[in-house]
């Protein structure tokens, strides 16, 4: 895979990234979350910014985040999202699950030393 091609997000991981972003940055509007994800991934993630809104609706329905209209620093009206208590709990659980999963997958995919071949 060429190094400069952007990464497709795995199913369900966007929700985790959104939760993590809100947890780290506090209340944030949709554009801010999208930018932050792109930025902190070093612009490695392929993200149609529009896709983030379905994820935001889903997280609201699950009561992991809440939303409120407000005014941004440069006086623009925007809907601000913030993580809830159960969202934080969920984030912790998901993070540890993700870490275990990646560790296992990493181990399995690691180039074997003096392996079978």
């Amino acid at each position: 895979m060429p190094q400069n091609e952007k990464l497709d997000l795995l199913q369900g991981t966007l929700d985790l990234l959104v939760l993590r972003t809100l947890d780290a940055m506090g209340p944030q509007h949709g554009y801010g979350i999208a930018r932050r994800i792109e930025h902190s991934s070093g612009d490695q993630v392929l993200l149609n910014q529009g896709t983030i809104y379905a994820s935001l609706v889903r997280l609201q329905q699950r009561k992991w985040i809440s939303a409120e209209w407000g005014v941004s620093g440069n006086n623009r009206r925007a809907k601000f999202y913030s993580i809830t208590r159960s969202g934080k709990k969920r984030l912790a659980a998901e993070t540890s699950y993700w870490q275990r999963l990646t560790a296992v997958i990493g181990r399995v995919l690691a180039p074997s030393e003096g392996g079978d071949r």
């Binding site: 509007h29 554009y31 379905a54 941004s72 623009r76």
Partner: protein, 878 residues
Amino acid sequence: MNLDEFWSRLRGVFRRNRPDPDFDDEIASHLEFAKADAIRRGLSEAEAERLAAIQFGSTTAARERVWEQRRLPWIDTLLRDAQYAARGMRRNPGFTLVTLGTLSIGIGLCSVIYSTLMWVVLRPVPGIPEPERLAVIDRPVPYSSFEAYRESNNTSWSAAAFLGPVPITLGDDRATGLLVSPEYFTTLAVQPLLGRFFDPVQEQKGTPASVVLTEHFWRTRLRSDPQAIGRTLRINGRTLSIVGVAQRDFYGAGAVAFSVPDLFLPATANPSPAPELRDGFENRPSFQVLLRLATGVTIAGVESQLDAETRRLHHSGENKGRLIRLFPAGSLIPLPPEGRALFVLFYGVLMFAVLGLTCANLGGLLLARGAARVPEFAIRLSIGADRRRLVRQLLTESALLAVAGGAGGLLCAHAIFAILRSIQTLSNPVLDSFTRGPDLQAAGFSFAIAIVAAAGFGLLPALAVTRLDLTAAMKPGRIPGLPRYRPFGLRNFFVVGQVAAAMMLVLVMGFVVVGTQYGPRTDPGFDTAPVSFFSLDPARDGLAPAESAELLGRLPERLRRIPGVVIASLADRPPLDNTYPTTPVSVPGGGSHGVVLQSAGPAYFSALDARILRGVDFQQREMTSGPRSAGIVPAAINQTAASELFGSQDPLGLRIQHDGHEYQVAAVVRYAPRAMLMGRPIATVFVPLDTHAAASGITVVLRWRASVDMAAVRRAVADLDSRLTVFQPNTLTAAVADLESKASKAAALYTPIGLFGLVLACLGLAGVTAQTVQRRKKEIGIRTAMGARRSQVLRLVMGESAAMVLVGSAIGYAAATAFARALSAVASPVAQLIAPVASNWALTAGVPSLLIALAIASCYLPARRSAGIDPLNALREE
């Protein structure tokens, strides 16, 4: 999806078409932020706007994703399908009416059958905890044996005994009582509502009697008097005090469904208020024994323990065979397991027939309607719907029909129960709870049936009509999509099934209806006009046996002195009272027959104006009071009994045996009342009245010259003995009218069921024949063009339908016969109902012929159209 999300999305479904301005604002604000960001990085206004739009991606796609996330797509589809289906139903009111009607009646019937089954077989006896651990010994035993059983083992069971229900005289009214051993209530583990129950210490042998009331009696007769405990009641001529009131819905255990006790008396009391418990009752086998088994104890284990105890009691050396059998007593009507299985089978088969008929008919209708909609499906398929989607659409339509049909079925069941209520012969709180209508469980069952039915009648047609050859289906000018004619195709399967189920239903119901129609409506065999009757129960009014016999001896003579009375006679039961069961009697060399055995005094037949056809009436000297001495006693029989017992032989002088007595036929009388719903008169044997043994009192029958004067009768009875109570006075005319109204209401119930089957079968046949004609239009066109005559074409089309009718009828007939035979194998009331009519040839041959004729006639109308097919038109359509 977690629960919060589900609810949130479910709410979303019902906010259907509301636009989402909030989200539009959010997109706008997002794009503003992006643009400002880009301008900050030095892009031109236009460039920035473009970049923001690219980064955001398609706003339509985003909106769609949010929209989908906000609702439940499958519910959306379901609602759309349901809406579409409802529109379709409104567009075809005729079709909707027929299908809904069919389904409602079908489901209503199933719901009634189910309620009956639950009630008769499976319902636990009310008001008793852990009823499944109760068992009852299959036969009555003497009180002394019960005491031995009770004492013999204290770990496997606890035992109680009861006698009854027995009639009780209560002031000048009648009630029903149960005579129970003191541990009756503790064995059943029930608690009193007020006061106390009997117990072995306070109700020791020889203590004076007291009485426990049921809550129903306390509520209806004592108006829920809170001070009832300690008050007294005048019972069988004695004053007894009330010690307790049972809980609501408690009526004892055992077969209480048809005779619900009002009160309980201790069997141990002395002197006993009940004539059943006088002189040496302890050794008469008259008590039912109830056992409550300990946990982990099996019925078989208890049976062998009881056997051992019985052998010890009778000092019987032999050690083989089962002496005692136990039935589970936890259900409303105690039945041995094999009886239970039979009931379940009977009702199961009935339900299956009704449901099968309904489903087959609806299946056929839906198939026909589906075939007419083939162009619609073809278009939907060709613009991209997949077959699963169409099947789902069709199933939704069936389900909608089923839900509406389920509701209709419940209404129908309520209507049927209303009729049942009005023809019910007995009325008591337990039976009334049944005829009040289907309970929640039965309602749930109706809807379950409806859903199953929807799957049954919806799935097959849905699969069949969506299997389409698109190119052929879209061709104009032909009836597309109809598969090649197959003699064993789905359509024909539906039709044969329908005819079979209809035949079975019509036969069984036909027996009932015809039996009812020609039953009590016909001449009962006597003139009813100026006859009245009433009952007396001297034993319960507190008269000693000798006193009572002497009194009854004088009674007819005294009553004849009332002005206007022509004849006065005695009998052991009211005339036309058909609630008595049949008794087996045997004739030498002729085996055993079930007859109604009743006893009557002299002049009984002339009082009823039942003509003595041959022989002579009973004489005064043949009446007895007390045990009959050995010797031959005369009997009078009616014509039905004569032909059943003796065939074509001259019955006069022939012998009948019953219960160790031998009777000689002295008279044949014209006496022809019919039991409820029965097709022919009941075989009846009259024996001379034994004034001592009449267990539930004596009925006095009076023939008057013109009008009835009950006041004079009461005066005359009081004049004879002031203790006597006159109860249940009635006139014969009123009794006949009552019987007839019940019979006609029963017919009103069963006729529609039979007609339902008939109409369904005819509709189904007509529909299928019409389709066959359409399907074979071209073939018929060619035949006509080649010179086939009208009659030949007609024969071609009718032949196929007639074959289906015949095959279906044969199957249905065989099923109905097998069914009737299986029933007659066990002596259930249903078998008694069907058996006499099932052997009636006019019915067994007439009903099928009628059905076949009707079915073939209903094919004729559409078939006639085939003859009118214009060959030119038919062939041009390619």
